[in-house]
């Protein structure tokens, strides 16, 4: 069962994501802020991270930086989820060097699941 950590501070969105991914057969761990996300990723070692940008305590870019500076987590694929599609946000996402990003309002849960599966197929993590 593939493991994902879903970092999202908006409770309503987080609930929908967790429900959708659980129903699709994922083992989902939710984190409601950036610090919790880093802690849970280090603990769970997920196959993919779904990461919101605007989060309390530590934002999405901060989380990516934390993950990259630890060899244990540096290679975990990260998919950023955002509500904003302005050029400023997009260039910051590119700079952060994540695997992919999705604009929340343009996706269905199914499409996000498909994207996660695609990332999993492309970069299978060395794991049992």
């Amino acid at each position: 069962m593939p493991k994902i950590v879903c970092a999202e501070d908006d409770k309503l969105i987080a609930t929908s994501l967790v429900e959708g991914f659980t129903a699709a057969g994922f083992e989902v761990t939710a984190a409601e802020d950036g610090e919790a996300a880093v802690a849970k990723i280090k603990e769970v070692k997920p196959d993919v991270v779904l990461l919101d940008i605007m989060m309390p305590k530590l934002d999405g870019y901060g989380v990516v930086w934390e993950l990259k500076s630890d060899p244990e987590t540096a290679k975990i694929p990260v998919i950023m989820l955002t509500n904003l599609s302005d050029s400023d946000t997009l260039s910051k996402i590119l700079e952060a060097g994540v695997t992919d990003y999705l604009l929340k309002s343009e996706q269905t849960i199914d499409q996000i699941i498909a994207k996660v599966n695609e990332v999993l197929a492309r970069a299978p993590m060395a794991q049992a």
């Binding site: 309503l12 609930t15 309002s105």
Partner: protein, 554 residues
């Protein structure tokens, strides 16, 4: 502009005056033909006055000294008999101008004598021996003939004094003896005086205009300066020093200005470009010393179309830029806040639809309830946000309708407390009301409840432990009722207090875990102010709690 219009007026006047002279001469001839000596004398006197009047008018529009003296000397011919009329101009000590108009041919010696007489007069006037090293000599009129045996037999010298300064000397010389008496000297003297008076008046006006102009330039908030074709700074205002942070009290040069902008914009090249292309050059958004400015360079041309230099305007757009940034941030935040609940609704309904369409997946009632709750909450959040946005739009348009009636403010407060009790209890917060049991005031119950709900919801949201105290006080003297909502929460920093109620705000201590548009406070302010009341906040600082107040007039 003023100078330009004077010059144009001068040009037009010259044409008019020459026609006037022509007519006068014809009249003079007619007069000479058949009238008596007595009437001739009267006519002569009248004529003098008219010439004076004309000189005055002509001079009234020019400030070129040599031109003025030429006008004066040119007029003398109509009044006196002479061989030469000359003037010396001392306005530029390095280059004294001697101009002589020869009416009837004389010899070189005659001219030398004229100069001698003039020098002697100047020395007397200046009370010292004047030796003129370099003289710019210009002769006009009849040719000099050394075969003639003429000498200066009569002459008169009249000084031209403008504002207490000896500007020049006019000399009229004749080979006939005893030609110039007191009355002739008087005529020339009067003409000269008249000219001098007109010039000093004009200079005064010009000085005043110049003063006004430099006053206006100095008072401008934009930095304004002008450089001439040799890059010499002709004029600059204090805003230039301020914006470019040039040393205060030191006379700035064009190169100080160019240096201060080095690395940001090559001003010298831009100046050359403006001159070469003969069009204004705009340099937008130059960032310098925490400021943003737009620079405009405009070539300055004189009446003849020749370049005189370049005028440069430094326009500070820092506040516009930061406002634009705040606006962008506000838009980004609104986009986020509007999309988030919609996404939640979409994703939750997606899950529900899938389970309905797939007979094998049977969703438990609890799961369905969860999804429906999510949808309900998201829709409610969204509706609140849209309502806030519409309210802000109404407030900004000044179209806020109130249904103000006599109501009990305490009742409204207690109602709100009841609504928030479950939320507060869940966070172990205590909501207290201290104050009178009833306080009547005239207000729109629905709108003021909206304000109370907003303030109370913030108090609960931003307080993790302790109390929220509500209070009503009657201020007899100010004729108002003041409602206060005091919490022991995260508080507000001093900087943030001032922007709390504005639409575009960038709070220094913004904690994104307590996301929100902040529109609630903008709406609350609009509602309270529409009642004629005030809204404000006090806080001892961050983490020291805050108190929000609003007043309603009695």
């Amino acid at each position: 502009m003023i100078i330009l219009s004077i010059l144009i007026a001068d040009f037009m006047l010259l044409g008019g005056v020459s026609i006037f002279y022509f007519r006068r001469r014809m009249q003079e001839r007619a007069a000479m033909a058949g009238v008596t000596n007595r009437s001739q004398e009267v006519q002569q006197r009248m004529y003098q006055i008219q010439v004076l009047q004309e000189i005055n008018e002509r001079i009234g529009y020019t400030l070129d000294t040599s031109k003025i003296i030429e006008i004066v000397t040119g007029s003398i011919g109509y009044l006196l008999e002479y061989e030469t009329v000359s003037f010396m101009l001392y306005s530029d000590p390095k280059n004294v101008v001697f101009k002589c108009h020869v009416h009837n041919s004389v010899n070189h010696a005659f001219i030398a004598q004229v100069k001698e007489k003039m020098n002697a007069a100047t020395s007397t006037l200046c009370n010292q021996e004047v030796t003129l090293e370099k003289i710019d000599e210009r002769m006009s009129g009849a040719i000099l003939d050394d075969n003639l045996d003429v000498q200066v037999m009569s002459y008169l010298n009249v000084p031209v004094i403008i504002e207490g300064q000896l500007l020049g000397l006019i000399n009229v010389s004749s080979s006939k003896p005893n030609l110039f008496g007191r009355s002739q000297a008087g005529v020339v003297y009067t003409i000269t005086n008249q000219a001098a008076f007109a010039v000093s008046k004009l200079q005064e006006v010009l000085e005043n205009e110049k003063g006004k102009l430099s006053g206006i330039i100095a008072a401008m908030t934009d930095g304004v300066f002008m450089v001439d074709l040799d890059y010499v700074l002709v004029i600059s205002n204090p805003a230039v020093i301020d914006m470019l942070q040039l040393p205060v009290g030191k006379e700035a040069t064009t190169f100080d200005i160019i240096d201060s902008l080095a690395g940001k914009v090559d001003l010298r090249t831009k100046i050359d470009e403006a001159l070469a292309k003969n069009i204004p050059i705009d340099v937008p958004e130059v960032y310098l010393h925490d400021k943003v400015m737009n620079i405009t360079l405009t070539p300055v041309r004189d009446k003849g179309g020749d370049h005189r230099g370049v005028a440069v305007i430094l326009h500070d757009v820092t506040s516009e830029k930061s406002l634009e940034k705040l606006r962008q941030e506000f838009t980004a935040m609104m986009v986020h806040e509007l999309r988030a609940p919609l996404t939640a609704v979409r994703w939750s309904s997606e899950g529900l639809l899938k389970s309905l369409g797939d007979a094998k997946t049977h969703l438990e009632d609890a799961k369905i309830k969860d999804s429906m709750t999510t949808i309900d909450l998201a829709a409610t959040n969204m509706l609140e946000l849209v309502n806030d946005l519409l309210d802000v739009a109404k407030i900004e348009a000044g179209k806020f309708d109130l249904n103000a009636q006599e109501n009990d403010i305490v009742a409204s407060l207690k109602e709100a407390i009841k609504t928030f009790e479950p939320q507060a209890t869940a966070k172990h917060l205590v909501l207290n009301y201290v104050g009178p049991e009833k306080q009547l005031a005239k207000f729109d119950r629905v709108r003021i409840s909206q304000v109370i709900t907003n303030l109370l919801s913030n108090a609960v949201k931003y307080t993790d432990s302790g109390n929220v105290d509500l209070n009503v006080t009657m201020q007899e003297k100010e004729k108002r009722v003041v409602v206060s909502i005091k919490d022991s929460g995260i508080g507000v920093s001093r900087e943030d207090l001032s922007v709390l109620f504005s639409k575009f705000k960038q709070l220094k201590s913004f904690d994104s875990s307590r996301k929100g548009t902040g529109l609630g406070l903008v709406v609350s302010k609009g509602i309270v102010e529409a009642h004629g009341g005030q809204i404000w906040a006090e806080s001892a600082g961050e983490n020291l709690g805050s108190t929000f107040f609003f007043s309603l007039p009695l």
